[in-house]
């Protein structure tokens, strides 16, 4: 069994880009969500998708998963049309709180990530099935240990904290050893220490295992040091490049079509001020830190 970190990368072995978008546009009714998006995610890159609410960040993930069609342009996932290789993708949707009354353990949730799409009678573990069951147990336990959720993996998922739930969901996304991780605002529900810890974990999985990570984020600061590439989506347009290239007053002012300022705090955090349609508390929250 290959370990989750430090083993051979899974998925197609050549240097086909993990995700490739060319001239991609999406409309909903008459409204253009985004258009003319070009992007190439290479294996092992950590890419952030930034932008204000309603800019179509989650839509981009749905397009890559093949759950939403493009209106024009082209998208390829591991060189194939989207939806074909979703087995190689770990997906963490935008935060939903589990019902406090949901009586399923965290470990069951992680196991569903491994076997949840298997049809047929879940047979008792006899003969060959017992061996397979054991391998699966090990995989599940290993990934739970990796995210540091061993202590509460056996508690009902509805009764643990949001941060603990999120770690188990990250474990679920990782349990199949995917070649591509699509994460939709995974840090938003976490407090600051948990944000830093989860970002570090994802950065480690990305670099050591060669997993391509695409993370939709609201706040770039927790992941800034791990980022290779940034895609900025806004109503006025799209910009992509390295964080240094994109998160600048010039680029963001162009993307938004209105003056935007970027400050760098003493500890290296970036503060974006003046972006329209972003929640008001946002810039303040960063400044106060």
């Amino acid at each position: 069994m290959t370990p989750l970190i430090g083993g051979e990368p899974t998925g197609p072995a050549d240097d086909t880009p993990s995700v490739m978008l060319r001239g991609a546009s999406v409309r909903r009714g008459d409204r253009i969500i985004w258009e003319h998006v070009d992007a190439e995610l290479r294996r092992g890159e950590f890419v952030a998708v930034l932008g204000p609410n309603g800019a179509g960040k989650s839509t981009l993930i749905k397009v890559i998963l093949g759950l939403m069609p493009l209106d024009s342009g082209e998208v390829r996932v591991f060189g194939q049309p989207p939806g074909r290789v979703n087995r190689e993708i770990g997906y963490l949707p935008q935060r939903r709180n589990f019902d406090p009354g949901l009586r399923v353990r965290g470990i069951d949730l992680v196991r569903l990530g491994l076997t949840g799409d298997r049809w047929g009678v879940p047979l008792p573990r006899i003969g060959r099935l017992r061996a397979r069951g054991k391998v699966e147990d090990e995989q599940v336990n290993e990934v739970i240990e990796l995210v540091g959720a061993t202590a509460y993996a056996n508690h009902p998922i509805g009764e643990i904290s949001g941060g603990e739930q999120q770690r188990l969901l990250i474990a679920q996304a990782l349990v199949r050893k995917p070649a591509l991780l699509l994460l939709d605002e995974p840090l938003d529900s976490l407090d600051l220490p948990n944000q830093a810890a989860s970002a570090a974990l994802l950065g480690r999985v990305c670099k050591e295992r060669g997993v391509t990570v695409l993370m939709v984020a609201h706040n770039v600061n927790p992941i800034l040091s791990y980022l290779d590439w940034v895609i900025y989506l806004a109503r006025g347009g799209v910009a992509s490049g390295t964080p240094e290239e994109v998160i600048t007053p010039q680029t963001l002012s162009r993307v938004y079509g209105t003056p935007v300022e970027v400050f760098r705090t003493a500890d290296g955090h970036l503060v974006v001020v003046g972006q329209p349609e972003a929640p008001h508390g946002d810039a303040h929250a960063h400044l106060l830190r």
Binding site: N86, V121, N154
Partner: protein, 297 residues
């Protein structure tokens, strides 16, 4: 000692009492039917509770009532009436409220209206068929007398088919119930599974109605599952417990009804409710004694 069905006497001899229970074919059929219904209702009810679709289950039971009453009016077996209307209701819910949940206020109001109308229609059919009041009672609150061997076979066929489908779709269905977005990304047909589950729920409600009556189906659909969930968060254990509770409650309730003449619906519901209260008390001890909480579950 001479015994009749009308006046069975409890003795202190347990073997004798159990033998008395099965003296009459109608009781044997009642036990067969009760067992089949308890298993299918517990399994499908467990999934219904997991999916938060109890509202849909209640609606299907209400829709089944005019079906059964109409079948009696036409001189057909009530079984087919329950089944035909519950399945039609399942298709209707799938069209109106694809998620099956009562989240959307519009949908729940519309479905509530349909429930009231269904009850009214059933009442009309009973009046038209000039059935006595006990006919209406047994359709609404259950009965265990007069279950024929053919009826048992129909119940068994329905339950085997439904549980066969459940076994095949079990894991993707649970996955899609808890995390529809992730399941959809994995290529699981989430909407098709929702529809399939509503049909299964239709079968389970129609079958349970024939023992508990339309109004008391939750005694077998919800209570065993809710009781089991209060005791454990392990899915497989919880499902097994739900089946065991449903079987025990049904068997015990049949024996009680046989000996004391109170209606079966009352006994099943009261026993199931009692088990639920005890289980909830067991679960609440963690809250009363916080130190125990982390060790449990």
């Amino acid at each position: 000692m001479f015994m009749t069905a009308a006046d069975p006497q409890l003795t202190w001899n347990l073997v004798q009492d159990v033998r008395q229970l099965f003296d009459f074919p109608f009781m044997v059929n009642a036990y067969r039917a009760g067992s089949v219904v308890a298993i299918s209702a517990a399994v499908i009810g467990w999934l219904m509770v997991l999916r938060r679709e109890t509202f849909a289950g209640h609606t299907l039971a209400m829709i089944g009532f005019p079906g059964a009453a109409g079948a009696v009016l036409l001189g057909v077996s009530a079984s087919f009436g329950y089944l035909a209307f519950a399945m039609a209701g399942a298709v209707a819910i799938a069209v109106v409220a694809p998620s099956g949940r009562s989240g959307a206020a519009d949908e729940s109001a519309a479905i509530g209206t349909v429930q009231a109308f269904a009850l009214a229609c059933g009442f009309l059919f009973i009046s038209l068929s000039q059935s006595n009041i006990s006919g209406a009672q047994s359709l609404l609150f259950g009965s265990f007398v007069g279950i024929t061997s053919e009826q048992v076979l129909v119940l068994l066929a329905g339950a085997v088919a439904a549980l066969g489908v459940v076994a095949f779709i079990a894991r993707p269905l649970v996955f899609a119930s808890i995390e529809p977005d992730v399941a959809a990304a994995r290529g699981i047909p989430v909407r098709a599974l929702s529809f399939a589950f509503l049909l299964l729920l239709g079968v389970a409600t129609a079958e349970a109605s024939q023992v508990t009556g339309s109004l008391l189906v939750f005694a077998l659909l919800v209570l065993p599952a809710a009781t089991a969930e209060a005791l454990t968060a392990r899915p497989a254990v919880s499902l097994g417990l739900a089946v065991a509770i449903a079987l025990f409650v049904t068997w015990f309730a049949l024996a009680l009804s046989y000996y004391n003449d109170y209606p079966i619906g009352f006994h099943i519901t009261t026993l199931a409710f009692g088990a639920y209260v005890v289980a909830k008390g067991w679960q609440a001890r963690f809250r009363l004694v916080p130190a125990l909480a982390r060790g449990g579950a």
